[in-house]
Amino acid sequence: MKKRPTVGEILQAKGVSRRGFLKYCATTASILALPPSMIPRIAEAIENTRRPSVIWLSFQECTGCTESLTRSASPTVEGLIFDAISLDYHHTLQAAAGDQAEAARHAAMEENEGGYLVLVDGSIPLGNPGFSTIAGMSNVEMLKETVAGAAAVVAIGSCAAFGGIPGADPNPTGAVSVMDLVTDKPVINVPGCPPIPMVMTAVLTHFLTFGTIPDLDKHGRPMTFFGTTIHDRCYRRPFYEQGKFAETFDDEGAKAGWCLYKLGCKGPTTYNACATTKWNSGTSFPIEAGHPCLGCSEPNFWDGGGFYEPLSTGRFDSGTKLAGAAAAGVALGVAAAAAGRSKQAKFTKEG
């Protein structure tokens, strides 16, 4: 097996300054909720780790997750770290195609048996294998084959983690998530539509630094990023408590930055790091830009009611059934009254 360069060497070759690199390590330590004393350990681990082998499989997806990571306005250290660790196999990013690409995947699997990471974006259709194939292979076959020798699997984005859009009602392709299929390997879910780039790389950095997977919540998401709700960290929260809500997207309340609850904000039930880590190198996040949270990092968020429907709206079906219940009530009431009246009549007669 040829010696892989260390991640440090790759970063150096790409012109990342020492200062920029340490800044990345410090940010990672802070968002992973590690004490500052861990920064040197992270730096050391990243610098000296041989480039780990990562195979990225793309199934039923829109490439948004890859875009999120690679299309930042200026190349970020997290983007470069990602580059440095991920290039064994990635449909969108690799130069190879066809048989060559498949050969690269097999080579990476053989050379790193038991030690490579598999990253997956997109859901896997079970309905008909023909819905999505790569090199003549169904997605489920490719996933199973690739995961067999992996150390761990990271499901990138809500489609891989929970089924996402392809899995939304009526789920025409029979789409399932990675954790539905992979039960004998650790699976880390990094959901989001797309996930925050910093969160994706921090999870990988955690793996590089400690060789373990981070603490996960009940949906398999790293607690450090998905441990609190958007609502709990939202800077508009004081307005929520004061009862100051934007009613429309252009009223005075919206202009004054009031809470977006009435416009359908799903922040209270959404666990993600948007409100703290933010997007575009820490610039802002959707709520800051004036749009309610859609809840994109939650399972089945597409089927969770309208995006602009307030969270507390009940999910009733038609009002006709309710009218039916009312009619049944009237009928019962009339019957009860008739029975009551005859009793009354008897009573008065007797009395």
Partner: protein, 217 residues
């Protein structure tokens, strides 16, 4: 389907059918009953004004009992007004009602609602203690009284736990809150909680009957 989706969907849906059918059954069943026959010449006509008068005057205690009932009366007011505000003036609740009524009304700031909610819970507990310690009240209380108390206080407590969280996840405690409301809706028409619909009907009827008989109201 997770717990929250179940609570917001099928559970609430079924509860709504039973609540609507049950409430209408109870109200129609009573309203359509035969009016009492007059055994003597009515003194007055006993119209709407007589009903309204008693609806108003019975909101206060008659003077001989004022002192004796001051404490429970105050508690009952705190409990009832607190409940009213929490249910109808909390913005997320208003949004819930707007979901099927199609219109909304102004609410109160959440902080004030939390305070009123805590006051309502405290008053409910004090009233329960009174019920359990007063020999007379204890004697005339049955399962209905205690269960009605329970299903009323449960949504208050679970609702207040949502902002406090106490280690629970928001969506889980929200689901439990909605399910506690489901329980309340299922029991509401059939137990003593039905007084919410009937209290003014019965008071008004009393007012009309009394006036016909020439009794002082």
């Amino acid at each position: 389907m997770d717990l929250l989706a179940f609570a917001k969907g099928p559970a609430l849906q079924v509860a709504a059918y039973i609540f609507v059918a049950g409430s209408i059954w109870r109200i129609v069943g009573i309203v359509l009953l035969k009016e009492k026959v007059d055994h003597s010449e009515p003194r007055k006509s006993g119209g709407l004004m007589a009903a309204l008068k008693v609806i108003y005057t019975r909101s206060f205690t008659a003077s001989p009992f004022k002192r004796a009932t001051l404490y429970p009366k105050m508690l009952a007011y705190v409990q009832h007004l607190g409940l009213f505000a929490v249910i109808f003036l909390f913005v997320p609740h208003i949004m819930f009602f707007e979901g099927f009524l199609g219109f909304s009304w102004p609410g109160l700031p959440n902080n004030i609602i939390y305070l009123l909610g805590v006051a309502a819970v405290a008053a409910s507990i004090a009233l329960l203690v009174r019920r359990l310690t007063s020999p007379v009240l204890k004697l005339i209380s049955n399962f209905d009284d205690y269960f009605s108390w329970f299903v009323t206080v449960l949504p208050l407590v679970t609702g207040l736990m949502i902002p406090v969280r106490m280690g629970f996840r928001y969506e889980d405690i929200l689901a439990v809150h909605i399910l506690s409301v489901v329980l309340l809706m299922l029991w509401f028409p059939f137990g003593k909680l039905g007084h919410a619909f009937l209290v003014f009907v019965t008071r008004g009827t009393t007012g009309m009957v009394f006036e016909r008989r020439g009794a002082k109201t």
